[in-house]
Amino acid sequence: MKQIFGRPAGLTDVLQRYCPGCGHGIVHRIIGELLVKLGIRERAVGIAPVGCSVFADEYFNCDMIQPPHGRGPAVSTGIKRSRPDCIVFSYQGDGDLAAIGTAEIIHAASRNENITVIFINNAIFGMTGGQMAPTTLPGMKSTTSVQGRNIKKQGYPIKVCELLAGLDGPYYLVRTSVHDPKNIIKTEKALKNAFGNQIAKNGFSLVEILSMCPTNWGMTPVQSKRWIGDTMMKYFPLGEYRNRAKEEK
């Protein structure tokens, strides 16, 4: 009997410290599989963010670095430019990427830097305890918007794919979700494309993934996954926002 599904060799044996039902784990598993399937684990360098997934440096079974909050794209650039043969991926949360790291992601995208960015949009600052993120939905409660995000005072959520699509630089921009198997499979494909683009030296790919944070949403894991389907996806439409590979055809 053969194992057809199981812990991929792209993950270490370290058990994850994420909360039950956290979307980070699902994405980790996919990346862990791709590192092996694409044969890039031994030339990969991963960048962990500051956020719940800061511990990604313990979880991915490849070389890893943990840089300052938000600066993953800059660190990635430094690595990729000095070791073009390495496959460099930056794993970031919405606080990391869309708040403090706004300048770095925009400029890496604009340079069409040949890296892969995995962007976990859980609409909240997970690690610090549920404060409002740039992606927090209007009216959504957080510990710094206890009465719900008030767009008059706290502004509008940032839609990262739509924003980056305003740049000429990036090669591939897509938004997916991990709240059900169908969407997880799409996420697998998107991430495969994103790594594939780097291998083919096409340039910048970013996969934005809607992901559950049951703890800070104040929901059960099952409620969370449903909330993505019912509510979050409406605000953050899934799909490709840029795919130069298709355009070029």
Partner: protein, 355 residues
Amino acid sequence: MAEKRLMYGNHAIVEGVLAAGCRFFAGYPITPQNEIPEYMSIRMNEVGGVFIQTESEIAAINMLFGAAAAGKRAMTSSSSPGISLMQEGISYIAGADIPVLVVNVIRGGPGLGNIAPAQSDYYQATRGGGHGDYFTITLAPNSAQELFEFPKLAFELAEKYRNPALILADGLLGQMMEPVEFSYDPVDPTTLPEPSYALSGCQGRDRRVVRSYDLKPGKLEEWNWRRHAKYQHIMEKEQRAQAADCDDAELVIVAYGTSARVSSAAARMAREKGYKVGLLRPITLWPFPKNALAELSNKVEYFLVVEMNLGQMVEDVKLATECKNKIHFHGRPGGGVPTPHEIYEKIETILGGSS
């Protein structure tokens, strides 16, 4: 002896960095060091290295973090406000024990200040302007020649101790021209060994992790104590200073970089008038050349600290001399450059009474 070239200080740094085998530069323009990225963009293109004009100094220091963690010699340069923006990054790099080179061509501060030469980032450089317990090895060149030579020294020290290194220059050193001798054979970067921490893909070896955090109880404290031991070692072993005419001196000027140049003229003037004046020039600002000063403190009565700031090095001189001596200060903050004459007058006031 190699041929000499008349070069801008800022260009001498670039040649020094390349001769040191560095092939990675990331930086953001700022006066008075724009000639560094400008010339670097041309030279890196020639030698096949990486030049990135970044979106900000924050991006620059973090690109450096990446490149250096990937095992490459990597550098950035900026001037005061830009260096302030790098403090978080420098603290991370120090916390991850990664060697990088940061050049600060200091200008008048605080704030936007002006673009005149200054030395007012001494505290920031020697006390770690970022958070946490760390130090950066800090070199203070005083000529275009040293601007050429110190990058190699800085990389070697940085790598030996796995610690960021700083070169502190100022607008005057950067923007003047002086003859430079290419005094050593350039390092071929392909001959540099891959460091033990280098992120390069884990083929044929265990995976590596570069990071500055540890949440396991007590672990971070351990790291800090280990680093403490390293710092103690560096403070003992890597002090560098240059002494001139100190043997019989009654008064020793303590000055680095541009102020040391200017002071040397003042010392010459004083000697001509019969005052016994020497000059001690710290070359490493951290580690501070305590031993040289401690020795002098037993022979010399007066010290005169000369700086282009409000007296930031004075405390280090006091500490090194165990508060035994009379320590005077002559400073020009906010972009002022002292003249030899001014300093000479100060010497005269100090020694005038005594001789």
